[in-house]
C-alpha cells in the first residue's frame, strides 16, 4: 500500500480552515440549507448554492490551496461498513 504525499500547502491550509470551521460551527444555525465557504484561514461568507460558493472562492481566494464548502444542516453519515475493500486494495 503506497502512502499519499500530499502538498504541504494543502495540508497546512486544511488544518487552519478546519480550526476556523470549529470556531464558527455553533453560529451557523441561521444559515441552514445555505453553503458556507472557508478558505485562507477566513470565513468568506454564505452562498445560496454550491455553484455560487465556488464562484465566490474563485473571486475571493483565487490562490487558495484548500477550501471548505459545506451545506449547513446536511447530516453526513461518518462511519460505515465496507467489507469488500480487501479485494479493492490489491
Amino acid at each position: 500500500m503506497n502512502l499519499i504525499k500530499e502538498d504541504k500547502r494543502v495540508i497546512r491550509e486544511r488544518r487552519v480552515n478546519n480550526e476556523i470551521y470549529r470556531k464558527v460551527k455553533s453560529e451557523l444555525r441561521d444559515y441552514k440549507g445555505k453553503y458556507i465557504l472557508i478558505a485562507k484561514g477566513k470565513f468568506l461568507g454564505v452562498a445560496s448554492d454550491f455553484h455560487e460558493a465556488i464562484k465566490n472562492l474563485k473571486s475571493k481566494a483565487p490562490d487558495a490551496k484548500h477550501a471548505i464548502v459545506k451545506k449547513v444542516g446536511r447530516i453526513i453519515e461518518v462511519e460505515r461498513e465496507w467489507p469488500g475493500i480487501l479485494e479493492r486494495l490489491k
Partner: protein, 140 residues
C-alpha cells in the same frame, strides 16, 4: 387491458475486462476549474456514492471544495479502518444529460487507483445488467 407503451432513452456501456468482467459507467465530474470524464466500476459492495482515485481527486482540485474533517468518514473494513476525504461536486452522465450533485471520496492516507460507483448512487438510477452481452445500461 392493454398496457401503455412509453419511449425511454437508454445508454449502455461495455463491461470492463476484469476477471471476471465488471459493469461500468462513464461519469463526468465537474471539479473546481477542471472537468473529467472517467470510467467507473459499478460496485454494489461499496456503500457510498463515488470513490475516486487519488490522481483524479487531485486533478479535479477537489481539495478546494472539501467538507470539514469531522465529516470526512471512516469505513470499517475487513482490513481495519479506512479514513476517506470528502468533497462535493456536480456529476453528469453525458449521454442522458443527467446531472446530480454528489459526495466524492478518496482514501486520505494511501494511494487509491480505481474509480467506483457505489450503492448510494446506483440506487438513484434505473440500471440493467446484461451479463451474457457484457453490457450494462441506464434507462432515463
Amino acid at each position: 387491458m392493454a398496457g401503455n407503451i412509453r419511449k425511454a432513452k437508454i445508454v449502455c456501456w461495455k463491461y470492463i475486462r476484469d476477471k471476471p468482467p465488471t459493469p461500468s459507467m462513464e461519469i463526468k465530474i465537474y471539479g473546481v476549474g477542471e472537468v473529467s470524464e472517467s470510467v467507473f466500476r459499478v460496485d454494489t459492495g461499496y456503500p457510498g456514492q463515488l470513490l475516486i482515485s487519488t490522481d483524479l481527486y487531485n486533478k479535479l482540485n477537489l481539495h478546494l471544495s472539501e467538507l470539514p474533517e469531522e465529516d470526512f468518514g471512516i469505513y470499517n473494513t475487513a482490513s481495519g479502518l479506512v479514513e476517506v476525504k470528502r468533497s462535493e461536486a456536480l456529476i453528469e452522465i453525458p449521454q442522458l444529460s443527467l446531472r446530480l450533485k454528489a459526495i466524492i471520496k478518496t482514501p486520505r492516507y494511501f494511494i487509491f487507483k480505481r474509480n467506483l460507483i457505489g450503492r448510494e448512487l446506483i440506487n438513484k438510477l434505473k440500471m440493467l445488467l446484461n451479463g451474457p452481452e457484457k453490457e450494462d445500461c441506464i434507462i432515463e
